[in-house]
Symmetry: D3
Subunit: 197 residues, 6 copies
């Protein structure tokens, strides 16, 4: 179970409201490679991991991704603070106002709602860790694209922090993959799987 602590993992600041960028950065909230995808992917895979260490890592990272999700939510909310209907429409985000006003929603930058089809769990630890390493790369790349799309130094700062965390998670999943492969005595090939009969 989880205990909520009433502070963000890291404070989120912006220089000025920017609904046009809010429309883009929301993809890291509810898009294919965003923080919700990350968190649910890892928390879900815990059960079929073979070692306590691997289970602990997935719990740990999955929980941190919940905190990142909250940081993105705070960022989006600040970026649209005070924006009236005309501001939202001018920013190309009239659909957001029509359907959610200033409420958040789990979509990508085009307004497509989040789907579990974005993530995977095969129940094979090697495979699921490969999925996770790819996922961290995809999240990392999305942050790079978003950093390119804003000029606000405060926003860039938040995005760079989150970018950095994805790099760290990628490395931790890589180490975990090595541990798990070592643990599994059935290694026929370097990636640790064997031919079924």
């Amino acid at each position: 179970m989880w205990i909520y602590e009433k502070s963000l993992e890291r404070p989120v600041k912006i220089s000025r409201p920017d609904p046009a960028f809010a429309k883009l950065v929301i993809t890291q909230y509810g898009g294919p490679d965003g923080e919700l995808s990350a968190s649910l992917r890892y928390l879900n895979q815990r059960y079929s991991m073979p070692t306590d260490k691997a289970k602990a890592l997935l719990t740990d990272v999955g929980t941190e991704e919940l905190a990142h999700m909250e940081m993105i939510a705070a960022l989006v909310y600040k970026l649209i603070e005070g924006a009236d209907p005309k501001d939202m429409e001018a920013a190309g985000w009239g659909g957001q106002y029509a359907q959610h006003n200033h409420g958040l929603f789990w979509t990508d930058a085009n307004g497509v709602p989040w789907s579990a089809k974005y993530i995977a769990c095969l129940g094979d630890p090697i495979t699921d860790l490969a999925e996770n390493m790819a996922a961290e790369q995809k999240a990392r790349t999305t942050y790079e694209h978003l950093i390119d799309l804003t000029d606000d130094p405060c926003v860039k700062d938040t995005l760079r922090f989150l970018w950095q965390r994805e790099v760290v998670h990628f490395q931790r999943f890589g180490e975990c993959l090595n541990d798990v492969q070592e643990h599994m005595s059935k290694m026929n090939t370097w990636c640790g799987y064997e031919m079924r009969k």
Copy 2:
């Protein structure tokens, strides 16, 4: 942010593995009215709530629903423990084995992946609380259906606990709705909304 505590909100026991029931109860993990829907709905709506008390309630209940999600995950995982491919197929859940083996996944009882289309956030506190009250009723009803579908007293016990929590949440959202309506000075009708110009 959230801190993980390594224990379930309440221990989950089963009398015997039962993959056929696992296939059904998974709807409370990744189905339309399950614990993921509940948690994401509430945690997402916090931002547009008008009072600190309402924000706190949504955080509180949303966080508890994460714990329920974890209880359902533990339940499903135990119900399929030791089941081999033929057991899964005999239970009508060969598709689960083919696609996930013993790994969990966010689907309903038919294998349809979770979608954010199941939940709503309109950014209007009265409306969002009405959405939540309906959501608790839907979760409550799904637990009743599931209780009808199992004979295992341990499983029934877990489901009854979760059922009870939905009833409590429903009541808390009802109280919150009253508070919020009182807070909003613009009430033209009992449900607190006014005619736009």
Copy 3:
């Protein structure tokens, strides 16, 4: 069965074509909280209602929502009348022209096609009426957002009429809920449900 009567429930007028607003208001045609959602939700739930009065109300409101759907269709169609490809693109609705020209389609304001995932039927009359009351609040709120997004007094007039009807439906579902709760003799709590064995 239904008989078609060749007139709108209420005439729909506009002051001038406005494809940019058509792109937004179409969410009440094929979006999550629009008239299609409303109509299909109610017409579908009739079968599991316990009293003839409740069945009749759902039929009645579901049928009226079909008429509202037709009013929104007429409104969207008028708002794009005479718009050429460049007008549509300038209004941010080039995707509509590319895929549908002046033909209508069941999407939200972002172009996401309608899905039955937006609506629910649990087969429990208390729950399904709570779902409907929340649905009317969501439709009501969406109309408020749309009224904020247009300056056309004729369009506002149509939207206010539809807003008003949602308020009335909400009240009628509330009364129906009271009737149904009274009808059901198994009330343990105020919302009329009992603990399963």
Copy 4:
């Protein structure tokens, strides 16, 4: 607008409850080629048709498909009447009981919720009528498959009636296509379209 008349287009009878067949026939309620697809496809396309006769046909057939949708709903509801949780599970439809009890829902035979992605409106009368002729063939074929899957003579009788209506609709859309092609003076090929500049 529509007026509801409290009788089915044609009475629906069954010889005995049969939840296993209910699970299959529901595809004509909420599946890709079912009555909901038909009704929404035609009612939506009316606006971009070039002649009053074509508009009237689409309204006429679209309204009749609403009545067929109601017949399928009545059929499904009767087929599961009196079925308890264990009956539903034995029929392979435990997922229905878990999520909807005896309430209906807009899905195909696998439990996939209805989506507007199943239907089309291109805003070109020739194309939209071709879409409709194909749609009637798909509905006709699905009824043939369903007739093969039941032994109940009463159920077969209802399905044959609906089958027959699809054949008639197909023919009426074919005649309409001829009318519309004649009406359009721009015919370069037999199917009535011309090369854009």
Copy 5:
């Protein structure tokens, strides 16, 4: 199986980059009536066709649609060549940059990912050919809309070529339908189907 030949079916040229049009024309890559829909629809239906000639036609056209898909991909890629983040955003396609940079993706003009719900296979040759004839009309119409939306003569030239191919495919499917109907000795009506018992 397929052998790849390293050349486009027909060279693709553009006069100048145009990300705003790339955003629209991508619907023929991953939208409802685009080349992916066409190719997968035909290649999938081959198995249930009754004659070798029909199987060969579906294989032939399905394979050509793969080549068209590649032409559209090349077109989109050229139209965004050299566009930086600000160019993409100015063209209303910031969501593309955020999520894919210059990588392609299978979506429609609104960013909705491709779904197999767009296509059909009923396993009945008459019906499946009617589906295909409608599909060619829908693709043909979409190309007409796109031709209206661009002023670039090179782009128009490519789109007209693809338009022309859809017309040819439509005619070939029509001829195939005649052949198949002739082949099937069970013809009760002109479209070749019979009443099931």
Copy 6:
């Protein structure tokens, strides 16, 4: 463009029809980690790869996956050959018969239609190759699960061949990743990405 060669990459044999296994193995046709996902993922990513060698590999593997898709199609079609409606229903695949008869369709083992949400293209070569390596692991694991679910030695033989190809593709993508990383002179970390400003 592609040239069709009228033979399978490798002949597909079965010992006996087995619709129950057809229902499961179809996930490698239209499921999340099946051959369609593989083929479309690779063919789509070609455009944003930095070297000709990487482009060629993606084309090569993407084209081979089309051939595997065809092998799975042939396998499914043989496994249901001669199965009548009652056989299909007894195998738990009545929904297939109702909706497609013996026609194939792009779904997973639960009947969920294929969606492009299963695949990714970020436009970053490192990331896209990581995505592909994970994809090959997921396909490999799914084949292992399917091998566990059948006793037919001929079917196992086909599945083992396809399994083997996934292993080879995984290795080739790994080598390609090394090449691409070497090619990119901007490497700050071992996985080749740098901090954006």
